[in-house]
């Protein structure tokens, strides 16, 4: 018997696991017919999940947390039983701004600290000369993009809400907005950085992986009540997506994956602008030693929904004033990510799954073997560029330390 599941996705490279699950037969092998529906906004994804047009969706990692904290229009509870990879974003700025940054301070694309220093000097010069504030675009307030951009700015001595301005724009319009001078830079998922570079609108100045190594980005979002009523189906789906992630992570499959994603009903962009994020060549020469760091769909527990990731996003939602910090809110945020479901789904498959639900973020400076359900599992590096450490057991202290 085949079970039909309707899944929403946005045309982004990190929808790869869902697309390959359908196109390479991993879903079918688990008895699931995956109907993939391309969406134009995250608001549509949220609405269609809420009314049940979608059973599952590609979603921004903070979206289920925001939904459960009552920060979105619907009272629908969403959970993330799986992550859809690590990394995959970058910050692109206009040619004019990159020239000015380099003039102020030399830096490489994998050097978030250097790029931050250069931008801070440009911002201070601009303030001294009374120039208009720089504008940066992100796709959604509750997105990894918004929070990693803000983290990077904050740690570089730039106040995101007063020294510059952050505006919301759809990913597909970012490159045009940059080219027309409407914005000065943007933080977005691939392929929209590569599209901006290919169109000549700007240059990549920093990557998500250089701001926070092995950091969370998209998740699989499902309604909590749907998950409870369809746990068997959800388990089968997670197994299918795990196998798909494994396939996506194989370097020998990258060209085929890029070709698949480039189809008009998926990303509709040339595979030549999609491939660099998959094979790491987006990092240029600097990235050859660390090419799997830019976007990682499988290795290093890339699909495990760490509750420490949920809590970090929560800490940033508190930091930037989206929600008040209470023990209840923190618990709600933590429980939005469901490693227990992930673990049950993969039990008996021999796949190594982390034994813990949370980890200290920023503790690993290099790839390290850790305890897992079976075999060894390699994690990290997972450091923040400024050397700070996030210990989910010391959430209050972390939130306090980030107060202005």
């Amino acid at each position: 018997m085949t079970i039909e599941l309707s899944a929403g996705f946005l045309p982004l490279t990190d929808s790869a696991i869902l697309i390959a699950a359908r196109e390479r037969g991993f879903a079918e092998a688990e008895g699931i017919a995956l109907d993939l529906v391309r969406e134009t906004s995250w608001a549509n994804v949220r609405d269609k999940l809420a009314v049940g047009q979608f059973e599952i969706s590609h979603a921004l990692a903070p979206m289920p947390i925001a939904a459960n904290l009552g920060l979105t229009p619907f009272e629908t509870r969403l959970i993330a039983p799986m992550a859809l990879g690590l990394g995959g974003n970058a910050i692109t700025v206009s040619n004019r701004l990159v020239a000015e940054m380099r003039h102020q301070h030399a830096f490489e694309m994998t050097d978030a600290r250097g790029a931050g220093e250069a931008l801070a000097r440009v911002v201070r010069t601009g303030q001294a000369e009374g120039r208009k504030r720089l504008q940066f675009g992100v796709v959604h307030p509750f997105s990894g993009h918004n929070f990693e951009l803000r983290y990077w700015l904050g740690a570089s001595g730039i106040a995101p809400d007063s020294d510059i301005e952050i505006v919301i724009l759809p990913p597909s319009l970012m490159a045009d907005a940059l080219a027309s001078g409407q914005i000065d830079g943007y933080c977005v998922g691939e392929p929209w950085n590569s599209v901006g570079v290919a169109s000549g609108a700007g240059r990549i100045i920093a990557t998500k992986s250089s701001i926070w190594a092995s950091s969370p980005e998209k998740v699989l979002a499902v309604r909590e009540d749907w998950a409870e009523e369809n746990m068997g189906t959800l388990h089968a789906l997670l197994r299918a997506l795990y196998r798909s992630a494994e396939w996506c992570g194989q370097p020998s499959n990258h060209s085929e994956l890029a070709a698949l994603l480039s189809l008009p009903n998926y990303l509709g962009q040339p595979s030549s602008v999609i491939l660099p994020a998959l094979d790491g060549s987006i990092l240029g020469d600097a990235g050859s030693a660390a090419s799997s760091d830019f976007f990682q769909p499988h290795a290093r527990a890339a699909t495990f929904p760490w509750q420490s990731h949920a809590l970090w996003f929560y800490s940033q939602m508190v930091r930037w004033g989206y929600v008040d910090h209470t023990a209840g809110h923190a618990e709600m945020a933590r429980r939005s990510f469901r490693p227990d479901i992930y673990r049950s789904a993969l039990a008996g498959t021999g796949v190594p799954v982390p034994s813990a639900n949370s980890k200290v973020e920023g503790a690993l400076t290099r790839t390290t073997a850790v305890g897992a359900s079976s075999q060894f599992l390699y994690l990290g590096p997972d450091g923040f560029f400024d050397g700070a450490v996030f210990d989910p057991d010391r959430l209050d202290a972390y939130i306090d330390s980030q107060k202005p």
Binding site: S41, D47, A50, V51, Q53, H140, P141, P170, L173
Partner: protein, 199 residues
């Protein structure tokens, strides 16, 4: 006596569809209806018109931007609640099926919004139906053209008149259990491939 009907802002990059909704609302007695087809500077436009209800199509990629404008109430003086009626799942469902969403200024009574949303839903559905019909009409026209071309080819190569050419075409279609237009299309295509279809 009656309080004035709520003011409505329609955001739709499809100008035809927007004007269809506008016409419907005017006919229902709404005097304060504004249509915006262009997203540029949307925050300022919303602040200027201060609408009670905002109707937007779901294909518009700028919904996330619009919602963030509502969150930053600096741009919009009055708080805007999000979707029409969170408790009325059926209304939400039919709006989403029709491809439309609405945002309402906080505190506006639901029954005053319902008729606006119902109008938007029915006009969106009517528009989709029209588009489908237009698509079919266009398809029919294409079929007509290709059948004419095929008839011309048969007339030329067999030296027969138009009626006979059509009969031959119909016979081939019946024998192959295919549509006449499909047979005509393959004929025109193969003629083109063989270099004989130039007109």
């Amino acid at each position: 006596m009656n309080e004035p009907l709520p003011s409505v802002l329609i955001i739709d990059e499809n100008a035809t569809r927007a004007s269809i909704i506008e016409a419907g609302l005017s006919a229902a007695g709404h005097t304060r209806v504004t249509v915006i087809n262009e997203m540029h500077g949307i925050a300022a436009k919303i602040a200027l018109h201060a609408p009670d209800v905002i109707v937007i199509d779901l294909e518009n990629p700028n919904r996330d931007m619009l919602e963030s404008i509502f969150q930053l109430s600096r741009a919009v003086k009055r708080p805007i609640a999000m979707f029409v009626d969170r408790s009325d799942k059926e209304a939400m469902q039919s709006a989403i099926d029709a491809g439309v969403s609405a945002y309402v200024v906080d505190g506006l009574r639901q029954e005053r919004v319902k008729s606006i949303l119902d109008m938007a839903i029915s006009r969106f559905n009517a528009f989709s139906r029209l588009e489908r019909e237009l698509e079919e009409a266009r398809g029919a026209l294409e079929e007509r053209k290709v059948i004419d071309q095929a008839k011309g080819l048969i007339m030329k190569s067999r030296g027969v008149d138009e009626a006979t050419a059509y009969k031959l075409l119909r016979k081939a279609a019946m024998n192959g259990n295919r549509k006449i237009a499909d047979v005509a299309e393959s004929l025109v295509m193969s003629a083109r491939l063989l270099g004989d279809g130039d007109e």
